[in-house]
Amino acid sequence: MVSVHRPDTTAPGTKIQIEKFSDGPIACLRFRGTIDETFDGKKLAATIKAKKLILDLGAVTKISSFGVREWLSFMGAVEKSVPQIYLINCTPKAVNQINMVANFVGRGHVFSFFAPYRCDECDRDSLVLLNVDRDADAIKKMKAPERPCTQCGNPMALDEDPISFFAHAAQQATFELDGQVTTFLISKLNYAVSELARRIQCEKFLEDRNTYVKLVGNLDSAFPGEKLAEGLEGTIVIDCGGIGGIDPAGAAEFRKFLNGIVPSVERVHLIGCQPAFLLRCARPEDLNEKVNVLSFGLPYTCQSCSTTASQMVDVLQHFEVLKLSMPPQNKCESCGGATICTAGGDILAHLPQLPRPDTHPDVLKFIKHAQKRKADKKPGAQAASSGGGNVLKLNTLLPLAVVVLLAVAGGVYLAAGALNAKGGAQASQAQKRPAWITSATPASGYCTDLSNRTVCVGVSSYQRSKDAAKEEAQSNAMEALSNTVGLRIENPVFRDQIRPIYADTRKLALAELEQNQDDQKSEAFDRALNIARRARKQVSESLQKSGGDAVPTQAADWYWEEYKALSGPGTEFLVFVRYDVAEAQANALVQRYSMHDAVVGAKLLTAFPSIGWRFPDVTEGAVVIGVEPETAAQKLGLEERDILLGVGEDKVRDAQDFASKMNAEVAAAKESQRDLTLLVKKGDGPAAEQTASLKLFE
């Protein structure tokens, strides 16, 4: 059984697929599959125009001895034009070759690699990512760093001979990762370079009434909003291009910062925003007369050279087009070819909500100057910056969530995949199913744990309407996510009290669906399908309501297939939707649903979305998990597993919300000397209003 650290793998024997990203002088090639004699190393090397190259070997399943030859040709050729080469995520197979073959990495540096670990207690294998900086000490000593098993917590052992496994890494000269590459890894690949490098770094540059603030790193609860806000006045330009991962706490801190500075500044312009940032930190309610977005990145894929890159969109320049939820047209920066925008529906839907910026030309000049000035600065004179002082060009890179696979077959490069409705128009049978679809069972959903994220895929049932099928697939993916979160929660109270509420109901419903899959025309199948559809839709909605910022709002990818209808004329659609959930997000969700609150003697957990399988009438609320004796809660007759849906006139969103509303209601009731009312659902019965005498709270 494989742990959450397992890197991406494609089925063994798959010919090599190479994804190519670029951002100015930095390019990244992600290899997937088998490197064998079909890999044309020299041809690939000729397409690389970068000065710094990152080779991601995290999904390499096999390197044959003939593949080694091609690889060496590739390295030999690419080294001539690219002075800096870094290898990341090297799988054990790649590590074996690196150790065995002279010059496998040429002049490049191995930055990170996966080491096979084994837990003898659980009898399972794991792959653990080691970094040459973070784990330098252990590697140099050729002693595997300790790692606990994610299941049982016992220490795992390296399932390799450390002396041979660490041979290359141990003798590799110590090197410092180039600042630009660090920023690229953090912000574009959401890569854990090191704990220090991930932390948000803020640089300020002031000129007259203008302040330029550059943010680089991950946006989390450590975001120093208050410190940053100190003294800010005039026009503030916030360059968000270096922001990597954004967790819910970070998004909240940033928005708090933004709202906090608005009264004291004249304007706030956000530039270089990635789609995830726009959706989480620059929502419509955050943007107004004073706060606007001047530029943001959208992913574009070149139809000639297949390079995927994020290109900056100037909001003012393209305002009329953006109003229509349409991306502006762009040319490929590598080869000048035509590109297609591969942004998801969520971000496109966000575009019309961007206000028209009102920017003085002097501010635009200031921005150019600030960015150019950053690029001219010597590294030694920098304020703390993980970017090493180098400013990224406006063409920032595509977030990991949106990718286009390049299939290499016999040396010919093809582009495949459809991410928006327009691109998908040509998809149909001509397209190859993407590798992230590992199961195509209709009306299903599943999640896969990867190295730094969880991928949840929803598969629709066959539907006549593509939109309806897509909606169903989205719900299925979300429901799968909810279930996965539920399985990860280790809180014994959740395990004993919450999971039993829905687990059997869910299991039975899905078993019924599976049993009837063979006869999709039968009434039994219809019945089972409708039950599953209803439940999944409800769970999905509930998750999005109560999960907060941790719930992905944007699908990472989707794909559809069209079939002849099972009965009657016309066609039916089968749609697959994928969501990527970063590790931090998944952890935030686990925490959200396992942290309890307490009020008036009742201990509460936020109503877990999956209970929607059993309770069609519950999408939000708080579940009682404990009642203390001789308290108002006990006197009220509250019991474990009661669900609190409302206090007075208000609906309850979650446990915290119930606690605060309850306290407020008690205070209000005391003031006006009246009784309180609660809306309570007990067991499988309907929700009912319950009156609580004020005396209980005195």
Binding site: P12, G13, T38, S64, S65, N96, M100, A157
Partner: protein
Amino acid sequence: MRAVVLHRDPAILRRIVRVWRSFGLEVSGSVDPAEAVKNIEGAALFGADEFDRDLVLQQLAEHKKLKACLWTAEPIQRCLKMFKQEARLLSILGRASFESPPRDLELGLVALRIQNQEKRVPFSGHLRHGASSFEVPVRDTAGIDAAVARTEAFVAGIEVTKWVSEVVAELAHELLMNAVYDAPADSKGRARFAHDRKAKVQLPPEESAILRVGSDGALIAVQVTDPFGRLKREHVVDGLIRGLQSGELDDRGGGAGLGMTVCHNSTVAMIYDLIPAKQTEVTGIFDLELNRREFRTTARSLHFFERE
């Protein structure tokens, strides 16, 4: 046919003597080098620990019909140069530790080979009785892929960890690529396809390579036979020396020249059986009893038999 065994540990000595006697050899064993040398005259085979290599080489020089095998718990690299130089050194048998004897199976193979030099050891002879196996001819590029997939599926079917099935599949792939690309020769003995790995090759049926894969639950054996008999001892040893010591490529052919090293690293024993100009049979043995750590560090074996 007589064999002499020299080993300082009496328990291990007894074991080797027992196995060789069971395989029909007349064996005299000794813990003392001087006594062993006394028994050499007229012997067909001299077996000893690599520690006594100098003595063994000396005896080979003095007795022209003598053949020898050495066993070692060390990495094989130390013996390769000697193995290349002395063609009558048939085998280097890896053993798990200084306290362990060489594998019975391999001792048996040496005994069989020395006695029946014309006869081929059947594939089943590499595994215990009751092993399951399959055999498939391979004569083109697509056939290689199919055969490798079948190998991986076969191995996965006996409930092993994923890395085992991957390693064994890799071994099968290497052996088949050599048999289909490197082995075929024209009428003048020149390699036909070795310089272009990307070429789609199709051999006539009579030139097909044969892949055999089997397991008895403790071992997995992968064997590829080709009808060309072009693989020379020095190819094997040079490839290993280059790969194991320096990782340098030999790109005189179309491959990376690392195939031997890959095969070596994918097995606990490699057995090369050559009938010059007629047949090459290469068998790799994988030990399922070893975990990955043990597998990486265990001493490996190399056998090179040449028949008329």
